[in-house]
């Protein structure tokens, strides 16, 4: 063995120790590569990476959150979380699962930040409240702002889990009373991978993390920092109800005849056409279903501001301040009606005011016509 100069075992060693053959190991690499959408030569990259790297330390911070991102992560079926945390990463800090508490927990994080400076991956779940000197979220007496600042400094890369970390999610919805702020507005000079969703799909989370630790570099990101592999398509573009949409066959109200036939949910508010996520392709919880398949429209949970983008049950934009029943069309129709009324009034006004001139023109015309008779 040549790669054992480091004390920590590599993935390859782990797998061999667990009784897998080299052939099985290569199969595994092929699968991972395919899963990540790599070309054939990617397999060699994967196997190389798995053979030579020890487990990457990971610090997972929790701020203003509901912990559903952690919950979603542990739902991942491939790879499975027990395998990730035992074999792939060293999850040195996460309040949800770690054995240590209080000072011992803080010490574990400090140790990683010091010993693996520049090496560890920082995962952030939750947004960061910036009002009131950060007092709206404190851990161990320190504000989230403060903790994030310190932890980001030595991180090799940062992953923002879920809509909370990526765009503030529900607590940042109007009027955002705590100043909930997404992490990319607070961390400067570090690569940040945004994995939005409320929560993101477990397999997507595991996939992104495994990509990062396996290749030691960031997956290809789109314009706003999301991994292209999972966020380049609208839910609508991969929705199996799409033929109904194109055919103009819609559910009119929940549980009506059309709903029982699985028609498109567009008219009952589906936000699939404006939502970028992999739900239609990967589906949830190991491919069992996804919101639309279970009869409810997409609420757009991976989109910025999805809480403030109007009701989940209407398609046409709502207008704040006009009441929940007013929407762009009602206002538009009213505006057009008002305009028409105004123009009619103007026509009458003009007629009255310019009667003389007008009559003169008309009379001239009549006179001229008479002359020709």
């Amino acid at each position: 063995m040549n790669s054992t100069s480091t004390k920590r075992p590599t993935y390859y060693e782990e797998l061999r120790r667990k009784g897998y053959s080299r052939r099985e190991f290569m199969q595994f690499c092929t699968m991972i590569a395919a899963y990540m959408g790599l070309e054939a030569n990617g397999v060699a990259q994967v196997s190389e990476a798995l053979m030579s790297h020890p487990r990457v330390p990971v610090i997972w911070l929790h701020f203003q959150e509901c912990t559903c991102c952690s919950e979603s992560f542990i739902r991942s079926s491939h790879p499975m979380v027990a395998d990730i945390i035992l074999d792939k990463i060293s999850l040195d800090y996460t309040e949800t699962l770690m054995a240590a508490a209080g000072h011992q927990a803080e010490a574990a994080m400090e140790k990683t930040m010091k010993d693996s400076y520049g090496e560890y991956v920082l995962c952030v779940e939750g947004s960061v409240p910036v009002y009131e000197d950060g007092a709206y979220c404190c851990i161990g007496g320190r504000s989230a702002v403060d903790i994030l600042d310190e932890a980001a400094a030595g991180a090799k890369a940062v992953i923002g889990w879920g809509s909370c970390a990526c765009n503030g999610c529900v607590q940042a919805a109007s009027p955002n009373p705590t100043g909930a702020t997404p992490i990319h507005k607070l961390i400067k000079g570090k690569p940040i991978i945004k994995v939005p969703g409320c929560p993101p799909i477990g397999e997507v989370m595991a996939g992104v993390l495994v990509h990062l630790v396996t290749f030691g570099r960031i997956p290809e990101l789109d314009r706003i920092g999301r991994p292209k592999a999972f966020y380049s398509k609208r839910v609508h573009d991969s929705c199996y109800r799409r033929p109904f949409y194109d055919a103009g066959l819609f559910v009119e109200s929940f549980d009506d005849e059309n709903a029982k036939k699985g028609y498109c949910l567009y008219r009952v508010g589906c936000k699939g056409p404006t939502t970028y996520n992999a739900c239609g392709i990967m589906r949830w919880n190991d491919g069992v279903s996804y919101p639309i398949q279970s009869g409810h429209g997409c609420i757009g949970c991976s989109e910025e501001n999805f809480w403030d983008n109007g009701s989940f049950y209407t398609r046409v934009p709502n207008f704040p301040g006009f009441g929940i029943e007013s929407n762009a069309d009602k206002i538009g129709i009213a505006a057009a009606g008002l305009t028409a009324a105004g123009l009619t009034a103007h026509a009458v006004g003009t007629r009255l005011k310019r009667k003389k001139e007008h009559d003169k023109i008309l009379e001239e015309g009549i006179d001229n016509a008479n002359e020709l008779n």
């Binding site: 075992p9 035992l86 949800t96 909930a180 929940i324």
Partner: protein
């Protein structure tokens, strides 16, 4: 002289909880519980469409995911006089049961077990003996000597790597760990198995609600139509899938969770005398079998027990202005009616006002406000809510099904009923109630099939979905039993919009700061008198606090 210790973060819970305790002569003399993160959902909801509320409040918590969404739908349906079809009630009940099966099992293994199981000591176990022991308590198939020795090797390698990950800095070797190495190894094995198992049972939510965490709900019923002729609706395949998942869930809980629970509990008899706390229990009841309005049809009966008196069960009324009230004497809020007043949630207010120290701080000042949790009271009493409360109320109400599981466990552990008023009692009640829940889940499932067979495929009543059918003014309450205890949402609707929305959450009852009269809430009260062997390693505090299964995102919301 007492010393003040701080445990913050309390880990293996949901959210941000800080405990400070005064220790004197190796015992806790006084304890303070503080929730240190706030989002203010109750404010964010104002002015929004009541039909959307379930999604907002669902995000209160992704651990007890679904419960707030259900409470919210019920509150709106209550306000607008909507009755959901029987199938929707059954699907909601099945999802409820699934949530319990998941939440309670994950709590036991991943949040609580490491308080009792010494992972590092598992390396000293003899795999053969472990196998014999495992087979003696359960016929779960994965218990061969080879299985345990492979696991042991895997863990050994893991420990030798020097990267202990989530197990780093645990209180391994602490004198309060009492399990034989073999039981530790079983515990560790099942920790990993449960991690794999839990992702399966939630698929019931995925089928009916499209995803988990945060499955979808709908005011008026459920969105998952039954369409036996449609490939994607709830059809024969989907229903069979649910049946299989429930069956697999049942096997794991009956063959792994419950035997482990009883085995581990039997090594910690002293913990039936520690951590009892208040002795007042509140249950709203849940699992309707004849509609939400008919409480007599609930599988989980409602009731109030005061001072551990199992001979009398009182009734609670969530609509009564004088029964449930929230106080903010010690909470970082202000009331327009004055900070000493108590408000019934329909009139509740959520106006944030932080007065604590500017971070970073070493200690909070407990003579002043010290938490983002409000302090709920029932007729002025501090109440404990949760699995123990539910089991006690069912037991005290004389319900046969409750008596059977409770008495059988008590006799297996050879302890009297009073042993339930304790840290271990709380942990045990959680497992016992899971057993009941599984039985009922199977009943709900059969009933759903029967309804469909009889031609009833209704899943939602949308006749009042359109706001034009709503009154100008309405108010409602949606109460339920979340895994951690009694939960209710109060809503006031005006001009089709949310005028007021107040949530009083199980962990708010349990983890709240003391009230103006100095009366402690459940966490604080149950910590008092708990022995602490080593102030540097407050394992005992974790045990009692974890026995409540804290959820702080819920508690503060």
């Amino acid at each position: 002289m007492s010393t003040r210790i701080v445990v913050d973060p309390i880990t293996r819970i949901e959210g941000h909880l800080r405990i400070e305790a005064d220790i004197e002569d190796g015992k806790i003399k006084d304890a303070y519980s503080s929730g240190t993160m706030v989002r203010l959902l109750e404010k964010i909801l104002l002015g929004r469409d009541p039909r959307d509320a379930w999604a907002f409040v669902g995000r209160a918590c992704g651990v007890c995911t679904t419960v707030h969404s259900l409470a919210s739908c019920r509150s709106v349906e209550d306000a607008l006089d909507i009755v959901v079809p029987p199938n929707a009630e059954l699907v909601r009940n099945i999802m409820f049961a699934t949530q319990y099966m998941h939440d309670h099992t994950v709590h036991f293994y991943h949040l609580h077990a490491l308080d009792w199981v010494d992972v590092v000591d598992a390396l000293n176990a003899d795999p053969k003996k472990t196998s014999e022991l495992a087979q003696s308590i359960s016929h779960w198939p994965k218990s061969s000597p080879g299985y345990f020795s492979d696991l042991q090797k895997r863990i050994k390698k893991f420990v030798e790597s020097g990267q202990l990950g989530i197990f780093a800095n645990g209180y391994w070797g602490h004198p309060a760990y009492k399990l034989p190495s073999e039981v530790n190894l079983i515990g560790l094995a099942h920790y990993l198995e449960a991690l794999e198992w839990q992702k399966e049972i939630v698929k019931v939510h995925t089928i009916f609600g499209g995803k988990n965490p945060h499955p979808n709900y709908l005011v008026g019923g459920m969105a998952c139509s039954i369409g036996l002729d449609d490939a994607s609706a709830i059809n024969a395949e989907r229903l069979a899938y649910v049946g299989t998942l429930l069956q697999q869930g049942k096997e794991f809980i009956e063959q792994v969770y419950i035997p482990d629970l009883l085995a581990i509990a039997s090594f910690y008899p002293e913990w039936t005398k520690i951590g009892g706390g208040l002795g007042n229990y509140l249950v709203y009841g849940d699992l309707p079998t004849n509609g939400y309005r008919d409480e007599s049809s609930f599988k989980l009966p409602s009731g109030v027990i005061l001072n551990k008196n199992l001979n009398e069960v009182l009734d609670a009324d969530v609509r009564d202005n004088d029964e449930i009230q929230e106080f903010i004497h010690n909470s970082w809020y202000e009331y327009s009616t004055g900070d000493e007043s108590g408000l019934h949630p329909w009139k509740g207010e959520t106006n944030l006002k932080y007065t604590g120290p500017k971070p970073p701080y070493d200690h909070l000042n407990f003579d002043e406000k010290y938490s983002y949790l409000k302090t709920p009271r029932w007729k002025g009493h501090a109440m404990e809510v949760g699995p123990l409360a539910r089991m006690l109320v069912g037991y005290a109400r004389g319900r046969e099904d409750f008596k059977e599981v409770v008495d059988s466990a008590l006799s297996k552990l050879n302890v009297p009923a009073t042993a339930l008023f304790s840290t271990l009692g709380r942990t045990a009640a959680r497992g016992l109630e899971t057993q009941l829940i599984i039985q009922w889940a199977m009943e709900f499932y059969e009933q759903l099939l029967t309804n469909i067979r009889n031609g009833d495929t209704r899943m939602a009543d949308t006749s009042k979905f359109d706001p034009k059918h709503w009154p100008d003014q309405a108010q409602g309450v949606g109460h339920m039993e979340a895994p951690r205890g009694a939960l209710a949402h109060w809503i006031v609707i005006e001009d089709k919009k949310i005028k007021n929305y107040q949530m009083v959450v199980p962990s708010t009852w349990n983890a709240s700061p003391r009230d103006a009269n100095g009366k402690l809430s459940a966490y604080e009260s149950s910590l008092v008198d708990t022995p602490v062997a080593n102030e540097e390693q407050p394992l005992e505090i974790l045990r009692t606090i974890h026995s409540f299964d804290p959820c702080m995102a819920c508690a503060v919301h």
